[in-house]
Amino acid sequence: MDEKLLHLLETKNFSQLTADEKQFVLKQITEQEYNEQHSILSISSEIIDEEISAIPVDTQMFDNVIKAGKTNSIFEYKVSVIKVAAVFLVAMISYHLVMAHIYSTNKQEPLIVHNTDTIYKVEKIYNTDTVYLTEYKTKIVKKDCNKSTPKIAQSNLKSNISKEKFEYYKKKIAYDLQNNKARRKGKSLSKQTNIFRDTLFPVEDNIFVGLE
C-alpha cells in the first residue's frame, strides 16, 4: 500500500475511480477489499465527526483559562539565569557601597585604654638539663693533738691552783695527750688530771674543739 492508494481509499469508492486508478488499485488489492476499506475509512471519519460534534464547549473552562492566563501573565516575563546573576551582582555591589558609606560616616576614634603595668622582655632563654644546688655544711676538723701542744692560759685555771701545780698539770696533760691511746682505750687518768683537763678542754666525742 502506498500513499496514492491511501488517498484514493479516503476519497473515492471503486466506482468513482478512473480507469487508470482502477488499474493501479487492482494491482495491489481486489475491488471488494478496496470497497471494504473505503467503507471503513468513510464510516470512521463519520464516527469521529459525530463524536466531536457531540462534545459541548465548556464555558466554565474558558473562564478558568482566562483567569489562569491573567494570573500567569504576571509571571510571564521569564528572565535568563545570566540576567538574574547580573541583577544579583549589582545588588550586592550596591549594598556593599552603601554599607561602606554608612560605616565611614559613623566611624569614631577608637578609645585606647592603657592597661599595662610592666612588660618583661626575655632576651634569651637558656635551657638546662641539670640544676646544681650548693649546700653548705659545717666541717668538723679533727685536730691531731700530737702535732702541737695546747696552750693553756693560767687565767683559765682556778685561782687556788698555784703556779707550780699549774706547770705540773700542764706537763701531765701534755704527757697524757701524747699518750692518748690510753685515753681512747678507756684507761682512766688520775682524778685531779681529769678535772683539770675537763675544765680546760671540754671533751665532745673524744674530739677536741677549738683547740689551737
Partner: protein, 184 residues
C-alpha cells in the same frame, strides 16, 4: 461563533489575541475545544483527566501566544502542545477502561435507526477503540482534522514514513477486527 470568526484564519486570530483581543481567543477556543478534547480523551482515556490536560493546553497557548511562529500552521502547533501534554500525562493501564466507558456513553446518544449501518459503526468504533495509542493518534489526527502526513509527523515528532506506515496498519487492523468480520 460569528461569521467573521469563520472567515478569519486561526493564525490571524492568534495575532489579534496577541495584540490583546480576548474575543479572538474565544473564537480559537470554540474552534478547538471539542476536537482537542476528543483527541486528548482518546489518548488518555479519561475525560476528566483529558479536560484538565486541555485546560493546561489553553493556558500554555495564552502564555506563549506571542512566541508563535506565524509561518507555521496554528492547528499543528496547538495539536503539538496537546500531544506533548498527553505524553506527560500518559497513564496507560487505568486509562483504557475509562475511555471505553466514555465512548460507549457517547455512542448511546448517537444511535441510529438503520440497524445494519449501526452495527457496522459500532464495530468500527470498537475497532478504533482497540487500536494501540500510537496507531490511534495517527488515525484520529488524520480523520478528525484531516492533517497531512507531514503535519502529523510534526505534531507527533516522528518521521513521515512512520506516520504512513502506522496509517496503513490502522486500516489493516480495523478491517481485520472480529466484529467487522462478523458484520460482513
Amino acid at each position: 461563533m460569528n461569521k467573521k470568526s469563520i472567515i478569519i484564519s486561526d493564525e490571524e486570530l492568534l495575532k489579534q489575541f496577541c495584540e490583546g483581543n480576548t474575543l479572538a481567543f474565544e473564537n480559537l477556543y470554540s474552534r478547538y475545544y471539542a476536537k482537542l478534547l476528543y483527541f486528548i480523551t482518546q489518548m488518555l482515556g479519561d475525560t476528566e483527566n483529558a479536560k484538565d490536560t486541555l485546560q493546561e493546553v489553553f493556558i500554555k497557548l495564552i502564555e506563549n501566544k506571542c512566541k508563535f511562529d506565524f509561518n507555521r500552521k496554528f492547528s499543528v502547533w496547538i495539536y503539538s502542545i496537546a500531544s506533548n501534554m498527553c505524553k506527560n500525562n500518559f497513564k496507560h493501564n487505568a486509562v483504557v477502561k475509562k475511555a471505553e466507558a466514555e465512548i460507549l456513553h457517547t455512542h448511546s446518544k448517537t444511535e441510529e435507526t438503520n440497524t445494519t449501518t449501526n452495527e457496522k459503526k459500532t464495530a468500527i468504533r470498537n475497532a478504533i477503540k482497540n487500536l494501540d495509542i500510537k496507531h490511534k493518534q495517527v488515525f484520529i489526527l488524520r480523520h478528525s482534522y484531516s492533517f497531512s502526513f507531514k503535519e502529523i509527523a510534526n505534531i507527533l515528532e516522528i518521521s513521515e514514513g512512520t506516520v504512513k506506515s502506522r496509517m496503513f496498519n490502522c486500516i489493516k487492523k480495523i478491517s481485520e477486527h472480529k466484529e467487522i468480520q462478523e458484520v460482513k
